[in-house]
């Protein structure tokens, strides 16, 4: 019983720290780190375009871009429901050049009136 218990615990501990397991985790970590750089880049760009107190809408081409935009600004921007009027809309679109984030650029559309 003692031996089998130690073997079970030891095997799980060793397997979890084995080279293949760690390599798989490292791959996932690398992907998440790339995601994180993308999120932070979008957040920095958005901060240059809108202020935290400004009620905004967001718009992007697909669900994936919407999710990235939400995750980038969700903690500090004032996102309001689409049914409510907003002075500004943060728009994410494919594009290059200075200030682009992995092939995407942000811009802001202002309506001027509510």
């Amino acid at each position: 019983m003692v031996v089998s218990g130690l073997v079970v615990l030891g095997t799980v501990a060793l397997h979890a720290n084995s080279a293949p397991t760690l390599a798989t985790q490292a791959l996932a970590r690398t992907a998440d780190q790339a995601n994180e750089r993308f999120f932070d880049c979008l957040s920095d760009q958005a901060r240059r375009l809108v202020s935290p107190s400004e009620p905004i809408h967001i718009r992007a081409d697909g669900l994936e871009q919407i999710v990235y935009l939400e995750g980038s600004v969700g903690a500090w921007a004032s996102l309001i429901p689409g049914a409510e009027p907003a002075r500004a809309t943060l728009v994410m679109a494919a594009g290059g050049g200075p200030g682009s984030c992995s092939g995407y650029v942000l811009s802001v559309e202002r309506t001027g009136r509510l």
Binding site: M1, G5, L9, A16, R29, D32, E36, G74, P81
Partner: protein, 529 residues
């Protein structure tokens, strides 16, 4: 960043230290649970912020001060409730050495924190929500029913975001900055580490026969013996005692390594699965395995408070633990008045756990995106896919079940002599957790294969850790039986060795003649070594 993390953990610990000492006693495990108590207070502060007015920091300060004043007043009015001097042996070298080994294993497991690794869910769900509470009641209230924030699941519990939010305020960080997410990742990792150390500390206390007897005799003896220090192993001779402590430390460290390894990168990437699982795991060991003493129940209460405020399946599992701990207390402590105490405490615990879900329901918070809307696939298809996916990660459970059956058949008497509760409750909690998780998948609405593909490996973590805990506990029970001078009596007709007080002491029925033999005092016949 290191200074920011230290400041955050110190502030959380300061808020949690007096309540932790009051209910868990002066012993090494209290060091590990103090930051967790602070995080639980932060979660409560977030709940109050959402329910009434103000912001996270104001409520955190108010609740922290209230807790400290309440504890000091309690100690002043009831001197017998003071937890000092500490339990005999609680800070002995073997005990501290065991804790050091456990801490080393945990620190090594947390090496992933050295680099930035904020997981997708950590950013979108768990850390992000701290910003709402930092910004105050109006912001938090507006988010709850704002469909734009559906991606962040506003109805999910607040503990991890609240703990991160406290760190942002303490360090003057802007919510939503890259540094704030990194701080959240590390704070969550540190909370994981604290919960793992508490789990290891629980295993250190398993080979402790006198705990049971003294724990029944109440008062200072109960509090002292419950700490599980070296001095509370009088039934075992010196050399054997050292072997017991060393083996317990090795098993505890192995358990921590195995549990941390099972969590994989979810241990350090800010996800919510590992922290609630480890908190619930040490609550199970302290509340359902170790002897029923106030300090042990106190540690279990902290684990439940943490697990129940992190994730919804943690809330459900914590509720099951509360019910089982209350039932155990009611059954093991005979007087009827104490049964009422168990019922009242259990109901109070359930009400506190339900506070957040009830509040979000009252506020018409957005429903969970995975369980609302039209269902994808039939129930039958979803059930089949769920069983297939979860079973693929539960290889360890049959192994633990086999050990539990053998242990129940061969080592039952030894387990009772050690004062340990039966492990049926552990399996009940595990079954409850799997039913909640499985039921959510089956009756949820999201595309099942996609959903299982991104989450099945982490939602089984509680079952895996419970299996590891059961293996560790039975190993300690078996190891204790092998030691010369340790407990005997599983085999019919076995006699204690002549001149071996430990063997005869261990045969005393729990709660029976022991207190009388000891003159009603704390272990007169078996003074702490």
């Amino acid at each position: 960043m290191t200074a920011n993390v230290v400041r955050t953990v110190v502030v959380l610990s300061l808020a949690g230290v007096l309540p932790s000492v009051a209910i868990a006693g002066v012993r090494p495990v209290t060091l590990a649970v103090a930051p967790l108590s602070g995080a639980a207070i932060a979660a409560l502060a977030a709940t109050c912020c959402l329910a009434t007015a103000g912001d996270l920091w104001t409520w955190f300060l108010a609740l922290g001060a209230l807790g400290a004043v309440a504890v000091i007043a309690w100690w002043a009015l009831s001197p017998g409730s003071r937890p000092w001097p500490g339990a005999p042996g609680a800070w002995s070298w073997p005990q501290v050495g065991g804790m050091a080994l456990i801490a080393a294993a945990v620190v090594w497991s947390l090496r992933g924190l050295s680099g930035p690794d904020v997981g997708f869910d950590a950013r979108m769900l768990w850390v992000l929500r701290g910003a709402w509470f930092v910004h105050g009641h109006d912001a938090a209230r507006a988010v709850m029913s704002n469909p734009t924030y559906k991606f962040a699941e506003p109805s999910f519990p607040p503990l991890l975001g609240a703990a991160s939010g406290v760190g942002w305020v303490v360090n003057g960080m802007a919510a939503g900055s890259a540094a704030s997410y990194r701080l959240g990742q590390i704070v969550i990792g540190v909370l994981n580490g604290c919960a793992l150390v508490a789990l290891g500390a629980a295993i250190l206390q398993v080979p402790n026969p006198v705990t049971y007897r003294a724990g029944r005799s109440g008062g200072a003896a109960s509090r002292g013996a419950a700490s599980g220090g070296a001095g509370s192993l009088p039934a075992i001779r010196g050399g054997s005692r050292r072997i017991v402590h060393m083996s317990a430390a090795v098993v505890a460290a192995l358990l921590c390594l195995a549990a941390a390894g099972s969590a994989g990168r979810y241990l350090t990437n800010g996800f919510a699965d590992a922290p609630w699982v480890f908190a619930a795991a040490f609550a199970v060991v302290f509340g359902l395995f170790l002897p029923v003493t106030p300090p042990n129940l106190g540690v279990a209460a902290i684990g439940v408070a943490v697990a129940g405020q992190i994730k919804l399946e943690g809330t459900a599992t914590a509720g099951a633990i509360v019910v089982l701990v209350a039932l155990r207390y009611a059954m093991e402590v005979p007087p009827r008045r104490r049964r009422r105490v168990a019922a009242v405490a259990g109901c109070a615990g359930l009400v506190l756990l339900a506070a957040w879900p009830i509040l979000t329901t009252v506020l018409h918070a957005l429903p969970d995106a995975d369980t609302s809307g039209p269902r994808s696939g039939t129930i039958d298809q979803r059930l089949h896919a769920t069983v297939h996916a979860l079973a693929g990660y539960l290889h360890l459970v049959p192994v633990a079940a086999a050990m539990a059956i053998v242990g129940a058949l061969v080592l039952r008497v030894s387990r009772r002599q050690l004062g340990l509760g039966g492990d049926l409750t552990l399996w009940l909690v595990m079954a409850c957790n799997l039913m909640v998780v499985g039921g959510t998948y089956v009756f949820g609405t999201t595309l099942i294969r996609l959903w299982l593909g991104v989450s099945a490996d982490r939602v089984v973590l509680f079952a895996v850790v419970m299996a590891l805990v059961d293996v560790a506990v039975w190993s300690m029970v078996a190891m204790n039986l092998l030691l010369p001078g340790a407990l005997h009596g599983d085999r019919a007709g076995e006699r204690p060795a002549a001149g071996d007080p430990g063997a005869s002491a261990a045969r005393l029925p729990a709660g029976g003649p022991a207190p009388a033999l000891d003159g009603g005092g704390p272990c007169v016949l078996h003074p702490p070594l």
